[in-house]
């Protein structure tokens, strides 16, 4: 079954066309001169220009990036600390904590969003302070990011050889020194990759932010409100820009990885 028969190739092509068709159409019509989404009349870059002048989108983008960065940093730190602490717990307690931690992942997003909104409303009514907005967004994003950190770092922790830590202690390190010089570097790949995962989930999150954002608009919320109105091809331009950015990032990551692999292969 190793040969790629004609049928398999055709199937691959069909599936890929299916997946990329809408994105391609959006891209093509972002250059359309008229507002029509079905009739291509002429080529123009005008929508890109007006997009870059669209205050609402730009400030939403800024907010999304800020929230993503801050919540990912906090989630990564908190989650790494949690993984280390949970690692040394008894089996039963660990099991319970892991299961509860997993809930934001299993639960449908709308439940997480709605339940957090309920909590915030109750809190807001009791302390009589308007907390909705950036504080609630941050809390919500950190909360749904944490499981990914824990479930990324914990396996790496278990894989780590405990003897290295003990050896460091034997050689005279204080526990703190041993932690920073031995454990942390071992965990670094997992920590970094979970940081990136958090960033991605945070920037792309719509449902949970929708219920907890108050008057603020993150990028997905701004996009949603754009689709509820008369739609402008600015949205096509936005979609194309996002696609190009993501594509470039993935290409760069892939190039870096394959270069690393080649280096490692050569060494052997």
């Amino acid at each position: 079954m190793k040969r790629m028969g004609a049928f398999s190739k055709l199937y691959l092509v069909l599936i890929f066309s299916f997946m990329y068709l809408p994105i391609a159409v959006m891209a093509v019509f972002s250059f359309n001169q008229s507002k029509s989404r079905t009739l291509f009349t002429g080529f123009t870059l005008g929508w890109y220009q007006s997009l870059l002048r669209n205050d609402m989108i730009l400030s939403a983008l800024g907010l999304s990036l800020v929230i993503a960065l801050i919540s990912s940093v906090i989630a990564t730190v908190l989650g790494t600390m949690a993984s280390i602490g949970i690692y040394s717990m008894r089996h039963t307690v660990r099991g319970v904590i892991m299961n509860v931690s997993y809930m934001p992942v299993i639960n449908p997003e709308i439940i997480t969003g709605v339940s957090m909104m309920l909590l915030f409303v109750v809190v807001k009514n009791s302390i009589n302070l308007q907390i909705f907005g950036i504080p609630t967004l941050l809390v919500a994003h950190i909360t749904f990011n944490l499981p990914y950190v824990i479930f990324n770092v914990s396996p790496k922790l278990r894989q780590m050889d405990v003897r290295m830590w003990e050896a460091a202690l034997d050689l005279g390190c204080t526990p703190m020194q041993a932690f920073f010089k031995v454990v942390l570097p071992e965990l670094m790949p997992a920590i970094l990759s979970s940081f990136l995962i958090c960033l991605t989930y945070s920037i792309d999150d719509f449902i949970i932010s929708y219920f907890t954002s108050g008057t603020m608009q993150t990028l997905p919320i701004a996009i949603y409100s754009m689709t509820r109105k008369k739609v402008s091809p600015e949205i096509n331009a936005l979609s194309t820009i996002l696609f190009v950015v993501i594509f470039t990032i993935i290409l760069l990551i892939n190039a870096k990885d394959s270069r690393k692999e080649k280096k490692n292969a050569v060494r052997i």
């Binding site: 959006m26 280390i84 997003e109 709308i110 892939n254």
Partner: protein
Amino acid sequence: MKLKSKIIAAPYLVWMTAFIVAPLLMVLYFAFTDKAGRFTLENLSGLSQYTPVFVRSILLAAIATVICLVLAYPLSFMLSRLREGKQRIMLMLVMLPMWMNFLLRTYAWMTLLERNGLINRFLGLFGVGPLNMINTQGAVVLGMVYNYLPYMILPLYTIMVKIDDSLIEAAQDLGAGRVHTLTKVLLPLSVPGITTGITMVFVPSISTFIISRMLGGGSNLLIGDLIELQFLGNSYNYNLGSAMSLVLMVVVLLCMSFTNQLDNENKEGGVV
């Protein structure tokens, strides 16, 4: 790494209790109380009139999950048998749409499916009359499949990569035809991937409200739409919304424990 380091998890445990456990308790509280805070079962009994919505959501999500499974299975298999370098590139290309914004992807289908949209225009070239595609349940299923297909491909691919070619060759050497190899060797080995994939597609499908709103025309309400109506929409009613959320959680937990059962079954058996 013993003793002291247990405390290091303390801040997280506080966070976990405050922001994972407490919100869910809130949902429970609101589900069983009325507007004045008195205990009542009316919210839950009031849900019975929405049973068609629940059934519709489960059915559409199930159909979308099955379609995803059928489409993704051969694709993941083909991907797992490619050359190493090609594999990574192809995998990236498959996952790329997943990284695009979910709303934009769904919105893109709106323009394609409309009466004067591109697909109908294309079909019009062949004289095929304009099909009524958008604002139907079919469009909603299409939206679900399109958005969640990568979530089915990834777990399946991860499992299939680990399935050794020699197993398949051995089966064929022992006389098994294509179909036999598929059902007796490949499928059982890939069950963990299948169950993960099913979970990752079914759960978001059953609870979506964006897809049904954008592609379903607002007349094919799903559970997600109903819940959103109660909290931020027309029918402002936290108690009813919490009751719906509770039922949704229970449904999801049931379905997941069901698929987990299947998974454990095969783990017990202990295959090669």
